[in-house]
């Protein structure tokens, strides 16, 4: 089922550098949100978002490649799931972020192009003037 948001970006840095940036609590606290994250499966941790803390739990760590964690902010009844995946590419590293709706985690791939299509479709039905797509 295609029930997730998917984003990606390519950085001109090695997978090791990007891996450090997405798993080191100090690095995360600088570019993402202040956190007590550590790459330990089962660990409960928090991201201190400005409006409210986000309660998370590490679900999967694949050293150098993938981090999966649950994600619940106060407004969400059930946790959603966030997957960060690294992939070496020519001249750098691709980071893919998947944010899956509150449901059982199932492994599916939503091609970026397809996701863009339904987002465009939603926008037509419910126009949001402020929405910007960067990647």
């Amino acid at each position: 089922m295609n029930d997730k948001l998917e984003f990606e970006a390519i950085y001109p840095h090695s997978p090791d550098e990007v891996w450090r940036a997405i798993t080191d609590p100090e690095a995360l606290s600088r570019w993402f949100l202040p956190t007590d994250f550590r790459p330990l499966i089962g660990l409960r941790f928090r991201f201190e978002a400005p409006e409210r803390p986000i309660d998370c739990r590490v679900l999967k760590i694949e050293e150098g490649r993938q981090v999966v964690f649950s994600w619940r902010d106060r407004d969400d009844e059930d946790p959603s799931f966030v997957t960060w995946t690294l992939e070496p590419v020519d001249g750098g590293t691709r980071l893919t972020i998947e944010h899956q709706l509150p449901e059982e985690p199932v492994v599916t791939i939503l091609p970026v192009e397809a996701s863009m299509n339904w987002r465009a479709f939603l926008r037509r039905l419910f126009p949001v003037p402020t929405m910007v797509i960067v990647c």
Binding site: N2, A21, R119, V134
Partner: protein
């Protein structure tokens, strides 16, 4: 409404096209099939998925059945996208800046 079903229902381009068509006005299945150059049974199958997700409703008038759009469940998905899409895009950008400054 289960948002997963809604995502799943709108993941098929044909079903999005059907919804877009029904957003203009309600119509019977024959007319829908005609405008997409599809068989009645193919269109009926798509409509069944859309009804399951609560996106399409039926209005009966005599023997005629009109299909119409119910956009309400799409709001669930639209809210989700509206909330998180700008967030993740900003973060991807912030990571790029962080990497730039720290390598």
């Amino acid at each position: 409404m289960d948002a997963t079903d809604v995502f799943s229902a709108i993941s098929a381009p044909t079903r999005r096209a059907i919804l877009a068509r029904l957003a203009e006005r309600e119509m019977p299945v024959q007319e829908l099939a005609g405008s997409f150059d599809m068989t009645l049974s193919a269109v009926s199958q798509h409509l069944a998925v859309l009804r399951e997700a609560g996106l399409v409703e039926i209005r009966r008038e005599g023997k005629q059945r009109f299909y119409r759009l119910n956009p309400q469940p799409l709001r669930t998905v639209a809210d989700w996208v509206r909330r998180y899409e700008p967030f993740w895009n900003r973060k991807l950008e912030a990571l790029g800046e962080y990497l730039e400054e720290n390598s």
